[in-house]
Symmetry: C2
Subunit: 303 residues, 2 copies
């Protein structure tokens, strides 16, 4: 029997992995330190704070998963780049690794980040692009990846999904797409940078779906989780304005581009497409449309 | 006032740092999970298991060190290269980092390893030689170094002492120098490889002295802790045979060189010499002589 333990299961990505995992025949055990939304896909929710190391081994002993999908991390916008919580999440993740090995687990997929890569003019390639994280967050993810791959050798199979930009329902309201949508819903102008930065945006349901495909595949090592369709921030913001009939409120160039923002951060998706055999289901137009509807209905139901 | 907390203080290197630290005016707090040899240099011994994270923060809150010399790690010969304990020591070290920052510490020096470097035909250079550890031990040390340097930025000053080969009193009896000395003391032949491997050997008292100098210096980043005097294993073993008048018992070539042993692992000591301003006090001949005397007297007093 396949039994998966999902960490960060109530989070932005995690919540979208549960139904796909169940539909692929997994006995789904979900762990979260926060609220536990009910889901018919989940065999059991575990309310555990993973930073308590003794609780981690007890959890793994009790669940005895064959598969581990490790998505949990500290992710508060504006804080996660530099927070000491990043160290705590490396510690928790190492505890998970040791406990997973102890119970004889066979396949582990964890979330990495595009923030591990050095600045590049080309699409980031898992093996050819240099790893040179500029932030504590990226450094901690990279350090964990190094230890995870080496520790797992000869013990269990691992892959490392490097997430690029993502958006969709339940996104933190301070992030780009929600902040523009919510501003426009309020009739406020969206004061944007010139938006020349080129990025890779993938809808969160697709991010979750790619992680599930990666978990089920035998593919090992780093794999970019991305659309493979580079787009400028200006194009994203303009699309939102157009879909909301509020183009006149989108003010590109109203703010300067922050000094640390790199001009291009895009992904090669060759491994994801050819080795994992996964391609996106939701294009940007449809995904933005769905996000606008979701924020509209969420705010309507609240008021 | 300068107050230093030394981890691994009862260990092979740590025990030799205590008197030099005290003589340089440090208020010395020593931590160990093991036996605590009395020492007039130590203001206070703390009996703490650093893998218990709650105990780490309590210890740092109680001592409030300005300086931290972090030498503790899992070091049992034959096991430390691959043991899951390496992950536990990364976890403990990250806890120390966070706790040291919390109490406003200003200078941290930790022990790295030559095992972080890629195989090289030249002396390993801190910045020019590639980092490509072949073992879990080297990977964990490297991962900790990455996180430590990034985390400390703008908070406190750090350096990372990469230890090469060392020897001297209190060395684990299974390691090269003691095993040859003890065998010859028993009149048994020393069955060695051809000994063509070239290494950098530094007496443990010099290793400790270099760490103390590094701690007191303002030098940041990785610094090789080594003699800068490459020597073949054959020369080391033959010197021991000569000094013990037992040359005929030294059998070079009696065993093959293990496949994973690299032909050369030597250090550039430019940073240690020119930036830290430290040079060795004990040459190999004197150090081996002293080690032979120590093992002789230790075994005599035991029997």
């Amino acid at each position: 029997m396949k039994r998966v333990l999902v960490t960060g299961a109530s989070g932005f990505i995690g919540r979208h992995t549960l139904a796909p995992l169940a539909s692929r025949g997994f006995d789904v055990h979900a762990v979260s330190s926060q609220a536990r939304p009910s889901s018919p896909a989940v065999a059991r929710w575990h309310h555990v704070d993973l930073s308590r190391t003794a609780d981690v081994s007890a959890l793994l002993e009790s669940v005895r998963p064959t598969h581990l999908l490790h998505l949990a991390w500290f992710a508060i916008p504006g804080q996660f780049w530099t927070s000491p919580e990043n160290l705590r999440w490396v510690q928790a993740s190492l505890e998970l690794l040791r406990a997973f090995e102890s119970v004889g687990g066979s396949r582990l997929v964890a979330a990495g980040s595009c923030a591990e890569y050095a600045t590049s003019d080309a699409d980031c390639d898992e093996y050819r692009t240099a790893i040179r994280p500029a932030t504590l967050y990226g450094t901690c993810k990279h350090a964990l990846h190094l230890v995870m791959e080496r520790f797992a050798e000869g013990k269990f199979s691992t892959a490392w999904g490097r997430i690029f930009h993502l958006y969709g329902p339940h996104e933190h309201p301070d992030r780009l797409v929600p902040s523009v949508i919510c501003g426009l819903l309020d009739g406020r102008p969206a004061l944007c940078t010139p938006g020349t930065q080129v990025r890779d945006f993938l809808h969160v349901e697709d991010v979750a779906s790619a992680f599930v495909a990666l978990l089920e595949s035998p593919v090992r090592g780093p794999v970019n989780i991305a659309s493979g369709a580079p787009v400028s921030i200006a194009a994203v913001v303009s699309s939102i304005g157009r879909l909301m009939n509020a183009e006149s409120l989108v003010r590109l160039g109203a703010r300067p581009i922050p000094a640390h923002e790199q001009p291009r951060l895009t992904a090669s998706t060759v491994r994801l497409r050819d080795e994992v055999g996964w391609t996106p289901n939701i294009d940007l137009e449809r995904g933005l449309h769905q996000s606008i509807d979701w924020w509209h209905s969420t705010r309507t139901s609240r008021s």
